[in-house]
C-alpha cells in the first residue's frame, strides 16, 4: 500500500500489453502500478515475483500472451507454470497465493479492463503483508 493506494507490480510481455495500455496503467490514480516490461513473460523468475511482494505490492500480476500466441512458442506456458509454483509456495508459507495473478487477456481488456480485474482481485483479497 503506497499513499493509501494499493500497490501492484505488473510484469508484462511486450507482446501481451500495448505500450499505451502500460502507460495508462502506470498513470492511473487508483493504484500504484509498477510495470516491468519483458521480452517474454517466461523471463519472470520466482524471486522477482516474491520481491514484488517483499517490496510492498498488494498484488503481483503477470501478463502473458494468450495460449498458442507466444512468439517464443511456450514462454506463456512456462510463465504460468512458474506462477503456479510461486502461488503454491506462498500458500504454504501462509501468504495467500491468490494475490499473485496471471492473465492472458491484456490486449483484449485494455487498461480499463485490466483495472477492473485488479479491483475485483483486490476486493477478494484485501491488502498484503506490509514489509
Amino acid at each position: 500500500m503506497t499513499d493509501g493506494k494499493p500497490a501492484v507490480s505488473l510484469f508484462y510481455c511486450v507482446n501481451a500489453l500495448s505500450a499505451q495500455t502500460a502507460r495508462e496503467l502506470e498513470n492511473t490514480a487508483e493504484f500504484e502500478i509498477r510495470p516491468v516490461h519483458m521480452a517474454c513473460s517466461s523471463m519472470v523468475r520466482d524471486i522477482l515475483l516474491l520481491k514484488g511482494f517483499e517490496s510492498g505490492a498488494d498484488l503481483v500480476v503477470v501478463a502473458t500472451c494468450p495460449p498458442g500466441q507466444c512468439q517464443f512458442i511456450d514462454g506463456n506456458r512456462r510463465a504460468r507454470r512458474r506462477v503456479d509454483r510461486v502461488r503454491r509456495l506462498l500458500d504454504e508459507a501462509g501468504l495467500d497465493g491468490s494475490r499473485l495473478i496471471i492473465t492472458d487477456c491484456g490486449l483484449e481488456l485494455g487498461s480499463a479492463g485490466m483495472l477492473a480485474e485488479l479491483k475485483s482481485a483486490l476486493n477478494k483479497q484485501g491488502p498484503g503483508v506490509e514489509i
Partner: protein, 222 residues
C-alpha cells in the same frame, strides 16, 4: 550428482523459529543443479521466510549466502563472515554439506533445509532419477551400464523376475524394468551370452551396512 528436495516451508519455519538471526546458506554444486539449494533457491526461500515471519509479527533477520561447495573446507571458509553474524545456519546443502558446516562452525546450530534423497541424474529437465546406491563394489560393467541394485525393485543380480511387463516393472507401470534395460543394452553390445553366467550373492561389507566408509588417497594426504 546428489539429489535433494527442499523441505516444506512450514517445517523449515518450525526449525528456525527459536532463533532471530538466521543465515540461509546455499551450495552451488549438486543441490543447485537439482534446484533444491543453489543461489536462486536461497533467494526464494529467504524471501518467503522474511514475509511469512513478518506476517506473524516476528522480528526475524533472514540473511543469504551461497558457497560453491559446502562439503569442502576451502569454500566453506568464504561463509565465515556471514555465519558469524547469525544465530543459526539453515543449510540448503546435502547431508554431507550440513555436517561439514556444523564441523567447521562449532558454536552455531546448523539446521537442514533440504532432504537428501539419492545419487542420480537429471533424466529430463526437472526430472531426477536414482542411479547409484554407492554400494562400494561397482558391477556396472557386467550389466551394460545399468545398475540393477539401484534400479531393480528387487535388487536382483540374476534377473529378470516374472514381474516384468512390456519393459516395465510390476511395482509401478511407469518404472522401467532394469533388467529389460540390461538385456536391451547387452543385446546391442552383442554380449547377451554373458548374462547366462550366474552372479553369486553380493558381499555387502563394502556398503555402509558396515558403518561409515572412508576413502584414502595416500599421495594427497597433508
Amino acid at each position: 550428482m546428489i539429489v535433494a528436495e527442499q523441505k516444506k516451508i512450514t517445517e523449515i519455519m518450525e526449525l528456525i523459529s527459536p532463533f532471530r538471526k538466521v543465515l540461509v546458506l546455499g551450495c552451488g554444486t549438486c543441490v543447485k543443479t537439482c534446484f533444491a539449494g543453489g543461489e536462486d533457491e536461497v533467494a526464494v526461500l529467504a524471501s518467503l521466510l522474511r514475509q511469512a515471519f513478518k506476517k506473524q509479527g516476528r522480528d526475524m533477520e533472514i540473511t543469504e549466502f551461497t558457497v560453491e561447495r559446502q562439503c569442502e573446507d576451502e569454500f566453506i571458509q568464504e561463509a565465515a563472515e556471514a555465519v558469524a553474524g547469525a544465530e543459526a545456519v539453515l543449510s540448503l546443502a546435502c547431508g554431507a554439506g550440513v555436517q561439514d558446516i556444523a564441523r567447521r562452525f562449532k558454536n552455531i546450530p546448523v539446521l537442514p533445509g533440504v532432504n537428501t534423497v539419492f545419487v542420480g541424474v537429471m533424466e529430463d529437465r526437472g526430472l531426477f532419477t536414482e542411479e547409484c546406491l554407492c554400494c562400494g563394489d561397482c558391477r556396472l560393467g557386467q550389466y551394460g551400464g545399468v545398475c540393477v541394485l539401484t534400479r531393480c525393485a528387487k535388487k536382483l543380480s540374476n534377473g529378470p523376475c516374472g514381474g516384468s511387463r512390456n519393459g516395465k516393472c510390476e511395482i509401478n507401470p511407469e518404472t522401467d524394468c532394469a533388467w529389460q534395460l540390461v538385456i536391451d543394452r547387452m543385446g546391442a553390445l552383442g554380449q547377451l551370452d554373458s548374462l547366462k553366467e550366474y552372479v553369486p550373492p553380493r558381499d555387502w561389507r563394502t556398503s555402509n551396512a558396515g558403518g561409515p566408509r572412508k576413502v584414502l588417497r595416500e599421495d594427497m594426504v597433508a
